[in-house]
């Protein structure tokens, strides 16, 4: 099992910080409306990109911990939470302080609807945060089979002895609704 990079901020953290810095540093209220729209749309696009990266990396990390290929690290978890929190604060500020005014001038600000949809999802992720954990079922963990086990499993796969059970079409499944209606 490998450990995570404990010493340095991971690239996705830097990406989230850059999103906040872009919002803070380029904020020029003297911009003309058209320039301002283009700048806000770039900012929104960055926000969506950062969201995508965070979502992917967090899902990968959770699966790695679950499969046992990476040990759970509190530091890594804190970094993920901080990155999500940074994204939420920056996105809220952009929507409230920039987009609302811009939308009174233009019919559409590209990407804003999607950003508005993502915001409550990330807020809920933070609010209901659950730490990932190693799978209790060892069969769901990831590991290389040792050579002796691989050889023995290969023999099982290529064995010509007839099997005691002849497979059939799976039986019909109940729907969840039918199950709930009947279950005692």
């Amino acid at each position: 099992m490998s450990s995570t990079n404990e010493g340095h901020a991971p690239p996705w953290m830097t990406f989230a910080e850059a999103y906040e810095e872009q919002w803070k540093s380029d904020h020029d209220l003297a911009m003309k409306w058209w320039d301002r729209k283009e700048w806000v749309e770039n900012l929104v696009a960055t926000g969506l990109d950062v969201y995508g990266v965070l979502k992917t990396r967090e899902a990968q990390w959770r699966e790695q911990v679950f499969r046992g290929s990476v040990a759970f690290s509190e530091k890594q978890e804190q970094q993920f939470r901080r990155a999500h929190d940074l994204w939420v604060r920056t996105t809220r500020a952009i929507l409230e302080q920039l987009v609302d005014g811009l939308e009174q001038q233009f019919d559409e600000v590209t990407g804003v609807e999607k950003l508005r949809q993502e915001l409550p999802i990330v807020e809920a992720t933070l609010r209901d945060w659950k730490s990932p954990r190693l799978s209790l079922a060892v069969g769901l963990r990831e590991h290389q089979l040792p050579e002796d086990a691989a050889a023995a499993l290969d023999r099982i796969i290529h064995c010509a002895t007839p099997l005691p059970y002849a497979p059939k079409q799976p039986v019909q499944e109940l729907s969840a609704e039918e199950f709930k209606r009947r279950a005692r």
Binding site: L140, H143, A149, P167, K168
Partner: protein
Amino acid sequence: MADVLFPVPFDADLLPFVAGFDCGPDPWEQEPSYWIQEHALEAIALGTKVWLYMNQQDLVVGFSSLDVSKSLLRYPTPKSPRVPVLVIPELGLKKEFKGEPKAERTSDPNTDGRYSSQIMRHLLDNAHQWQGNMQAVSLYVDPRNVAAIRLYQRFGFATYGAPYKEPHTGISYDRYAVRLAR
């Protein structure tokens, strides 16, 4: 009428129906009881299929699960292409239904009416339908769980390799597998 089980795909909506699920007091019985209540949804989110089984009296009798194994079989060398294998991560029968219904017991896994055999047939039938040219179904079992081992052996499972020692609990699990007939 035979007491045929009905499978239903398990999800978060059905969690209340496994509250208090109890396979028995032994450690190898407590693990599936806890798993279906506390861990199954995490596995489902990552692609594991889980089913509950209801009998003709509309009682939940057990559950099973199936997924692609992440124990990487590469043979004959560690750099050979990966051989796709399925795994039964967890399987559980409530303690009051173990060995039931006794009246429908036969020694033939094709016709044995016990719930445990019906669940195994459902799993193996689904394994044969699984996409990706799966070569075998594998599982890990506590060697003290003799009733489960007898069930697996009735369906052609054979042990392979040295046991897998769980690094945190120290429990050793025997590895079993059966090939998938094509």
